[in-house]
């Protein structure tokens, strides 16, 4: 239904935690103040990471008992910023602070057809959408891409629920998703929902735009936590104010700049709104754009960055450094 951005914080108790794959853990939480869970909803959790208070967003995979018990799936990426480790350490009985469901990625009813595309842990946002579409008798397909089957959570459940509507694309089995073919095969009047790594979303968007497909039919969810390259440490400098900061792999450039005393403007902190934009004066290395705010043309220009999610990667023969102007 509608976008819901009103944050209502509440407590929750972990009631179950088990591994689904070597990299993904399912955590079930009984919340104190349940609210309806719409397809595409997520919650934000307050965590203490390395001694500092921070927050992370996780899609709600499924919910029972009218939203009293919700399930999340936590992916430990090699470049995790530390949230996954904290979440994975939770055990039944532990308390945590979380929002009631928020939804920036609502499933709109009434389209002729739907294609849901999940890459890796992006499946967490799609489980509820697919269930809702099935319950409504909608015409839909669910495409699920991953590296290898043992790393892909919920495959058996999805197969049982969706049968032939589910198509798996597994790199190890030589059935990878071929994006141009995929986009060619999507009929007009279809709404497409994508959740997954930024390179999957970028690739789909590029093919979509190339074909002049209506941008309103392409819906993407991003928590800004995946890039084209592994996160590495880099240096950011603001010559105008003499500020210099090291950005650790598990820290965003925005966080490092704030910690170094720069006054920064921001809003979404997930690469969507563009408010945290900085202009690039000098660059040693390359920009790993992880936002969905800039067009491909703007990303290629390397002149601006959304510092809440985007990073710098080192050149082959040197250190990664970026010099910027803030707003």
């Amino acid at each position: 239904m509608a976008v819901s951005r009103t944050e209502v914080w509440q407590g929750g108790t972990v009631v179950a935690s088990r591994p689904l794959t070597p990299e993904i853990r399912r955590i079930e939480i009984e919340v104190d103040d349940p609210a309806p869970v719409s397809p595409g909803a997520h919650i934000d959790v307050r965590l203490t990471i390395a001694g500092e208070r921070d927050r992370r967003s996780y899609s709600i995979v499924d919910a029972t008992d009218e939203g009293r018990r919700i399930a999340l799936s936590i992916y430990t990426s090699p470049v995790s910023r530390g949230g996954a480790a904290v979440m994975n350490a939770l055990a039944p009985g532990d308390r945590l602070e979380l929002t009631q469901p928020l939804n920036d990625f609502p499933l709109r009813p009434g389209a002729d057809r739907y294609v849901l595309i999940a890459g890796g842990v992006g499946i967490t946002a799609m489980v509820g959408m697919a269930a809702s579409l099935r319950a409504r008798g909608a015409d839909y397909r669910l495409l699920y891409a991953g590296r290898s089957r043992p790393l892909m959570a919920y495959v058996d459940d999805l197969r049982e629920a969706h049968g032939e509507r589910l198509r798996l694309h597994v790199r190890d089995e030589n059935s990878s998703l071929v994006v141009p073919e995929l986009v060619d095969g999507i009929e007009p009047g279809t709404e497409v929902y994508v959740c997954g790594p930024i390179r999957l979303m970028d690739a789909i968007r590029r093919e979509w735009m190339k074909r002049n497909r209506p941008i309103a039919d392409l819906r993407m969810e991003t928590f800004g936590n995946s890039g084209w390259f592994d996160a590495q440490e880099f240096t950011v400098r603001i010559p105008a104010s003499g500020i210099e900061a090291r950005v650790r792999p598990n820290q965003s450039m925005l966080e490092a700049l704030e910690a170094a005393g720069a006054e920064m403007m921001w809003d979404c902190r997930k690469g969507e709104c563009g408010l945290c934009e900085v202009r690039v004066l000098g660059l040693s290395g390359d920009i790993d754009h992880r936002d969905v705010f800039y067009s491909e043309r703007q990303k290629d220009a390397r002149s601006k960055m959304c510092c809440c999610v985007s990073r710098v990667v080192a050149p082959a023969d040197g250190a990664a450094v970026v010099e910027i102007v803030t707003s």
Partner: protein, 369 residues
């Protein structure tokens, strides 16, 4: 359920079709701003004539889209910063950037054009089944003709439902047109299903009140004499009440089903809650005789408009008295049987939506949510 107190004012169900506007009110010349069931809407039509209902607040800074501009076949542009949306509420362009924020959209509500009205569903869109629209076929059926208007009533929708479910008030409120003492003297029969309530009343061998005498003479020039009069009130949840009314020459078999010696009208009422204290009251009077006479159509519309003006004044006064006496409760009478069944059905709809119908607080009285 706290059944000991009759809720003075009921919250309205959200999972329901409500009339947002007459079909002719929604077009492309002007975007219509109207609040339906507490939800401000921007209503317009696409170039191919499809009615659209979007939330009347831009995603960005909530500027009212109803003050915006229609663009191309189906888009609407915010009057403030020019953000555009398609008929589904999806953002199609943003100023000063080459991409579109993935969360940018305004809610779009299911809409159906039917029975000369634009119906909208502001609840869970997954439940918006057009088959749930109440039957008002007399609005478009070739065997009937008529016209109506909208009253913007300054009261909770529940008070209008009460008004229509018990027509004994005609004797007192409408004494110069349709009121007569037999209304309170004659028996009535109430029946109900899970979603409907019917109240039927027959008055045998009586004088026709002025409104009905005029109608009889339209069909039977020079008519005089006594009549059998009927009122069969059909409620269909949540807030449509179609009333089968008429008179026939006394003793010619109308109660047994032969209405050929009489005149028959349908008062089509559908009430759309606007806020907790205001309602859009859409009505029409449809008849099945002298179909060709626009004169009669206009006379009936204007006549009923005058009669309903008397209801409107009473409803406004009643709402004001309720607000002024927050510590007083409602009591019920036998004549409220129809209205009480309506309440029961609405309370169940509210509970099914996970909402308590919660009687208004006794003190401090800012009514039900």
């Amino acid at each position: 359920m706290p059944e000991t107190v009759t809720a003075k004012l009921l919250d309205h169900p959200r999972n329901a079709w409500y009339v947002a506007a007459w079909d002719h009110e929604v077009g492309r010349k002007k975007i219509l701003a109207r609040t339906v069931a507490g939800r401000p809407l921007a209503l317009y039509r696409t170039e191919d004539g499809r009615a659209v209902a979007l939330a009347d607040a831009c995603w960005h800074r909530l500027a009212p889209l109803s003050q915006g501009t229609l663009m191309g076949p189906e888009d609407i542009r915010c009057p403030y910063h020019g953000i555009t949306y398609d008929s589904r509420g999806r953002c199609t362009s943003m100023p000063a950037q080459e991409t579109i924020n993935p969360s940018a959209l305004v809610p779009s509500f299911p809409v159906v054009d039917r029975y000369r009205y634009v119906w909208v569903w502001v609840g869970d869109p997954a439940l918006a089944d057009p088959d749930l629209i109440p039957d008002m076929h007399q609005m478009t059926d070739a065997a009937w003709t008529g016209d109506g208007l909208t009253i913007h009533a300054p009261c909770n929708y529940q008070l209008i439902l009460d008004n229509l479910m018990d027509l004994t008030h005609e004797e007192f409120v409408h004494s110069s047109s349709i009121g007569q003492k037999e209304l309170s003297e004659s028996e009535f029969v109430t029946s109900h299903t899970d979603t409907t309530v019917t109240v039927e009343r027959w008055m045998h061998d009586i004088e026709a009140p002025p409104f009905w005498l005029k109608n009889m003479r339209d069909k039977f020039p020079g008519f005089s004499g006594r009549v059998d009069r009927w009122q069969i009130i059909h409620f269909e949840a949540p807030s449509t009440i179609c009333i089968d009314v008429g008179v026939a020459k006394a003793g010619t078999g109308a109660p047994e089903g032969d209405r050929s010696q009489g005149v028959n009208g349908y008062v089509m009422n559908t009430i759309t809650p606007e806020t907790a204290r205001s309602s859009h009251y859409f009505w029409s009077f449809q008849r099945n005789y002298r179909l060709d006479s626009q004169l009669i159509t206009t006379q009936l519309r204007d006549g009923v408009h005058g009669v309903f003006g008397e209801d409107e004044a009473m409803l406004a006064a009643q709402q004001a008295a309720i607000d002024a006496n927050p510590d007083y409760e409602f009591y019920s009478l036998n004549i409220d049987a129809g209205g009480m069944w309506v309440r029961r059905i609405l309370e169940r709809m509210l509970l099914a939506e996970g909402r308590d119908h919660a009687p208004a607080p006794r003190r401090g009285a800012q009514l039900v949510r």
